[in-house]
């Protein structure tokens, strides 16, 4: 067994990874095993998160070509990995970065929707949300109000955005890829 394969095996033992997951990881070329070991150690990945990483990395490579080490060196992954964040925030940020590479069109649409919602400038008491992974059409608009004045203000904001077509843009975005 090579040195890196031994290190991977030690990590797997420490995290009690399944044999299948270990075999899958060790099937990669050494450079890719090593690059991913750095990420796994930094994020303290257990079985489930680690398998998500393996799935996404392999799926991206199969679709776009390239190598795991190159993907893990992409700014979308590397920047959050090197950021001064706690383990959980860092894990979330790195996964989000990798998700952008795995789901480029979906993430682009999500980003466009986020920007369109921000442009509505509806204030902190109106919240617009979308179905998970944008599967479905229903847009949820939630309003919080402590009194009728606050409610009236939020409704007025919404009415203005209906009138100027900016709310329509949200639905238009959902309807196109």
């Amino acid at each position: 067994m090579t040195q890196v394969a031994e290190q991977v095996a030690r990590y797997a033992q420490e995290k009690r990874l399944s044999v299948q997951t270990l075999i899958r990881w060790q099937a990669w070329v050494e450079e890719d095993q090593r690059a991913f070991l750095v990420v796994a150690q930094e994020l303290q990945l257990g079985e489930n998160h680690l398998r998500d990483f393996l799935d996404w990395l392999e799926e991206i490579i199969r679709r776009d070509g390239g190598t795991a080490r190159n993907l893990l060196a992409r700014p979308e992954v590397l920047q959050p990995l090197e950021a001064k964040l706690g383990r959980n925030d860092k894990l979330k940020a790195v996964k989000e970065g990798l998700r952008k590479l795995r789901y480029p069109h979906l993430c682009c649409l999500e980003e466009n929707l986020r920007e369109a919602v921000k442009a509505l400038d509806l204030g902190g008491r109106v919240h617009i949300s979308f179905p998970p992974t944008l599967e479905g059409d229903e847009v949820t608009i939630a309003m919080k109000a402590c009194n009728v004045r606050e409610l009236t203000e939020s409704l007025s904001h919404l009415q203005r955005r209906l009138d100027d077509g900016m709310l329509q843009r949200i639905f238009d975005l959902l309807d196109q890829e």
Binding site: D55, E59, R62, Y103, L106, T133, L134, E135, D137, D175
Partner: protein, 404 residues
Amino acid sequence: MGCYNASLIFSIKSKEGAGSVCKSSPSNVGHMTLYQPDEIFVEHGEEHAPVVQRALSFLPDVPVRVVDKGWERALAAQRERDSFTAGKRRLFFTRQRSPFLEHCPAGTPSLICCNYLVVSLISNCPMDCSYCFLQEYLANNPTLKVFTNVGDLLHEVAVAVNRHPARHFRIGTGELSDSLALDPLLGFSADLVPFFAAQKNVLLELKTKSDCVEGLLPFDPRERVVVSWSITPPAITDTEEHGTASFAGRVDAALRVQKAGYKLGFHFDPLIEYPDWEKGYRDAFTRIFSAVDSRRVAWVSLGSLRLTPSLRATMRRRFPQTRLLSGEQVPCGDGKWRTFQALRVKMYRTLMGWLKEAAPNVPLYMCMETASVWEKVFGRVPACDKEVAHSLTEPNLSLMPPLS
């Protein structure tokens, strides 16, 4: 239970051409290899069923065992490694003891359905598409089973369609297996086509990825039989649909059955999102609709690739090189993963646009989609499942010649 060679226990004459059943066609298209099981099992009492006799005549060198009823359940309990692959290599002749006629299992309460009925003379498929739902559906019962009591099936269908003479039926045989891939071996088309050709209120659909149409050609389908092909671009056909006919082979076979008087169907299902999907499907679409007479196309369907989490895991295990898991698929309301909605709607609209250009009168429907997606693609939602079924049966049944 005994182990024999087929030619020893049954006195059968070998037919000329056995072993190369999907015969050459007029054009220069490569052909599928005939399915060759490792072993044949015949349930005790079924040895002399015509379909058994025919199959054994085509496979004289394959070992045959006569087994007791329930044999396959005992075998399944042995839990062979990758028993799904092993199951496909075992050909088992038995009787169907449950009703043949069933509602299509794709029907799901939250999704629009086309009210399709299915009959299965075969369970499991000699082909091995990486995305096939049978890997999960038949995981515990993967032996390739052929039901010998085709007469019972025909009787059951006759009773059902005669009981509802005003209702129009669409019945398919391609749910638990390919409708035609084993036809050279089993010859079921010789039972099915003449029977359905004589019915007045039912369309039979033979759904296939094969080029095994030779057995259909001698019969007059009398507008009651639709032979349909599941279509993916060659880049997908060649890498993901193992053991099937090539794209060119399917188009060639479609032309042959069209010439013989059959109506055609095309199912862009699974519709697969991959980096070059638009070009791939455009080319496939153009090749099909520039070759066939679109007036003879009974219907076209679209259905996004849909995979349960467990099927995704199976695909990863059985087909580690598959590229189909790399699409932008997300979990949907029914638990299946599909290309995310905005992108698959774009794909549906794109293909619908091409169909409107090439064959505006051909009925188009979607399989296993939500009302919301129907609304986005077609601009309206069918009032009920019967409406979808009606839109598919009426244009075709109205052209049927009267029964003599």
